[in-house]
Subunit: 387 residues, 2 copies
C-alpha cells in the first residue's frame, strides 16, 4: 500500500510536472517599459518585469529584420512586420539581469538599433539594452557625492601618439590638496575599449556608492585601451602582451603618478581586468611584482599554486588575489569541468591554504557579461589597500 501510494505520488508528480510543462507556456507580462539605455525620447526597445525584451524597428520595405539577442542564441529574435511597416518582436524568454550588447540584421546587413545608445564591444559600437537587476541599487545614480571621470591624453613614445585614458577621481579628491590616493588600473575585455568600465560598467557609480556607504577607502581608477594593434584587429591567437605592457607600465603609470596625487609605491597600486583584461592583468602583474600588490581577475582566468610557486617573491609581495566569475560560466558544459584552466574555487582555496590572501566570488545567475563584472568590482574594491 505504501508502495502504491509512493508510486501514485510519483505518478501524480510526473503528471503534475508534465501539466506544468504544458500549461507553463510563458505568460508574458504586459508591463514593458523603455530600457534605461534608450536614446532620449525613444520608446523602444522595452523590457518587462520578467526580463523579456521587446524590439520595434521601422523599415517598411525591408524583407527581414532580426535581433542578435535572445534565447535563440545565434538565431536571435526574429521580428515580424505589421501592415504599417513596423517590425516588432519579443525575446522567446527572459534575459539575464544586467547589460547586453546586441545589433540588428536588416536584409543581410548589420546595423544598430536607432532606439538605443551605442556601446563599444566586439570591435564595433554595438547597441545595448539593460535588464533591471534585483540588486541594481549598487550601481544606480543616487543623490550622493559624485566623483569625476576625467579624460586624459598621455604621451606614448612607444606608439608614437597621444593615448587616451579615463581616470576616476573620488568625490573628496579636490577637497584636500595634500591628500594622496592608491590607484587601481582596470582593464576592459576583448573587443571593448577604455570607455567600457565607466559607460556600460558604471565603475564610477559603483565607487561613488561604496564610498558614500563607508565601505571602502577612496582610491583612483585608471582605465585605458588594452591593445596597441589599432591597425590590424585580429583575434587573440597572436596577441603579444609586450606593447601594451610598455604603454601601461612605462608610460601610463609614470604619467598618472606625475599628474595625479597618487600613492605611487607598490603597496598602493592594484590591477584588475575582465576577460581578456584579466589575462593581461595576470601576465603583467606576475612580470611586475615590484609595481603591483593587489590583483583581480574577473572572468579572466585563475591563479593556481603553480603560478605562485613559479613566481619568486609572489607570496611576500602580493597582498590580494581576487578571482570572480558569473555562475553560468562555471556550470559544467558537456562534462568538462576544469573550465578556465582548472577549478577556480579549488585554486582559490589552495592559495588560501598556502597563506595567500585569496578571495573567490561567484555572481549569481549571470554569464560572461557585465553584471558579473560590476558585481566583481563591488566585491573586489572593499578588499583593496586595507593597511
Amino acid at each position: 500500500m505504501k508502495r502504491c501510494l509512493t508510486a501514485l505520488v510519483s505518478l501524480l508528480t510526473f503528471w503534475g510536472s508534465l501539466c506544468l510543462a504544458q500549461t507553463d507556456q510563458p505568460t508574458i507580462k504586459e508591463d514593458f517599459k523603455p530600457s534605461t539605455l534608450n536614446q532620449p525620447g525613444q520608446e523602444y526597445p522595452q523590457v518587462n518585469s520578467q526580463g523579456y525584451a521587446r524590439f520595434r524597428i521601422k523599415a517598411p520595405q525591408a524583407d527581414s529584420v532580426k535581433v542578435s539577442l535572445g534565447l535563440g542564441g545565434r538565431r536571435g529574435t526574429i521580428l515580424t512586420k505589421s501592415e504599417d511597416g513596423i517590425w516588432t518582436g519579443t525575446t522567446e524568454g527572459p534575459l539575464d539581469e544586467g547589460f547586453h550588447y546586441y545589433h540588428l540584421t536588416i536584409d543581410g546587413g548589420i546595423f544598430n538599433d536607432p532606439g538605443t545608445g551605442n556601446f563599444y564591444g566586439s570591435i564595433r559600437w554595438e547597441s545595448g539594452i539593460e535588464i533591471p537587476a534585483h540588486d541594481q541599487d549598487f550601481y544606480a545614480l543616487k543623490d550622493v557625492p559624485h566623483g569625476r571621470v576625467e579624460q586624459v591624453l598621455f604621451p606614448s613614445k612607444s606608439t608614437h601618439t597621444s593615448r587616451r585614458a579615463f581616470v576616476y577621481t573620488p568625490p573628496d579628491y579636490d577637497k584636500d590638496p595634500t591628500k594622496r590616493y592608491p590607484v587601481l588600473y582596470l582593464q576592459h575585455g576583448w573587443g571593448e575599449d577604455e570607455t567600457a568600465w565607466s559607460h556600460q560598467g558604471h565603475a564610477n557609480l559603483i565607487m561613488d556608492n561604496l564610498i558614500a556607504e563607508g565601505k571602502i577607502k577612496p582610491f583612483l581608477i585608471v582605465m585605458t585601451y588594452g591593445m596597441t594593434n589599432e591597425i590590424k584587429f585580429g583575434g587573440l591567437r597572436n596577441f603579444d602582451i609586450k606593447p601594451f605592457q610598455t604603454v601601461l607600465v612605462d608610460e601610463l603609470i609614470p604619467y598618472i603618478d606625475a599628474n595625479f596625487r597618487t600613492l605611487s609605491d607598490q603597496p598602493h597600486r592594484a590591477m584588475a581586468g575582465l576577460s581578456m583584461g584579466g589575462m593581461e592583468t595576470k601576465t603583467i602583474t606576475l612580470a611586475n611584482l615590484d609595481k603591483f600588490s593587489h590583483i583581480g581577475l574577473f572572468s579572466g582566468g585563475t591563479f593556481s599554486l603553480d603560478d605562485v610557486n613559479n613566481t619568486p617573491g609572489f607570496k611576500e609581495k602580493i597582498k590580494l588575489v581576487f578571482v570572480g566569475f558569473g555562475s553560468r560560466e562555471l556550470e559544467n558544459r558537456g562534462g568538462r569541468p576544469g573550465f578556465f584552466g582548472g577549478d577556480p574555487k579549488a585554486n582559490a582555496d589552495a592559495l588560501k591554504q598556502a597563506g595567500i590572501n585569496s578571495a573567490f566570488y561567484v555572481s549569481p545567475n549571470t554569464a560572461h557579461e557585465f553584471l558579473s563584472w560590476r558585481r566583481s568590482l563591488r566585491e573586489f574594491a572593499p578588499l583593496l589597500f586595507k593597511d
Copy 2:
C-alpha cells in the same frame, strides 16, 4: 566692328562656358582615404582630397540604400548595389570642409552607418564624417601638453536629479594648487547635447593648441545640456529658457565655483553658444549682467544697438560681444538680407562705434556646421579675460 567683336567675344564666351560645362564633368580623384572618424579598422566611409565622400554599405537583400548627405540636399546620395550585395556611392560634389552629420535610409528605415562613429545631433546619435580642412592643424591632436575633459555629475534640485557636465581643465591646472582660473560656459546647438563641444567640436584640442602657442591665457570651459525637457522633445517654438537658466545660473555655476579653482567674479566668467546655444547665451547673459562679462554667439543671432540700449548697465558691465557666422549663412537667399535679425556685420560695427568691445568673424566657405563653430571658438578664446 567693335560691336561685332564684342558680340563675338560674347559668343565665344558663351560657347566657351558651354564647353566648360560640358567638359567640366567632375573628375573625381581616386585618392580616397578612410574618414578620420571611422570606427577602428573600418575602411569606409572615405573622403578624397577634393572633399568628395564615398560610402560602402553591406545589405545584400535590401531594395534601397541612401545617404542623407551630399549635393542632392534632401535627396542625398543614392547608393547602388553590386552583385556581391554591397551598396556604394559617391557624393555628387565635394562637401564643405569639416564635420557633417548624416544617416542612412535603408528600405525606408533610418539607421547609422556601421563604418563610422556616432555623434549626438538632431536629438539622436547620428553618423559623422570629417572632410579634412586646409586649416585643420588648429584642432589636431598634437604632441603638446593636453588638458583634461572631466565628467562631473552635479546635483540639480530644480530637476530632481544629478545632471552631467564636462569641464575642460587646462594642462597646468594641477601644477599649482593655489592658482585660480576664469570660466567659459559653452553651449551646444538644438538636438545636440553636452558631448558635442568636446566630441565633434574638439574644444579641448583647440584650447590645448592655443595654450601651447601662447595665444591665450588658460581658462576652464564648462559644457552642459542646454535643455531640461528630457521627456518631450519638441521644437523650439515653445522653448522656455527659465528651467535651463535655473540649472545653469543657480545650480551649475555655484557647483563649479565650489569644486574647481575658479575666479568666481563677474569679470572672469564668460558664456557662448552655437545656434540655439547662442540664443540661450544672449537671453541668459542679458538677464544676468552681474554674472557674465564676455559673450559669444556662434551662428546664433546678433547683438543690436537696441539690445544694448534696452539693457541698463550693458555698456559698463559687458567687456566683449563676439558674433561669428559661417560665410554661407550670410549669403543672400532669395534677396532676403537681414538674415538672423538684422545685418550682423552692421550690428557689430554699430556696437563698436558706441564704444562696446565688439568682434565679428566670418568663417570662410562654411555653413551652419561645426567647422564654423570650431573656428569661432579659436577666434573668440584669445579675446577673453584680457585684463
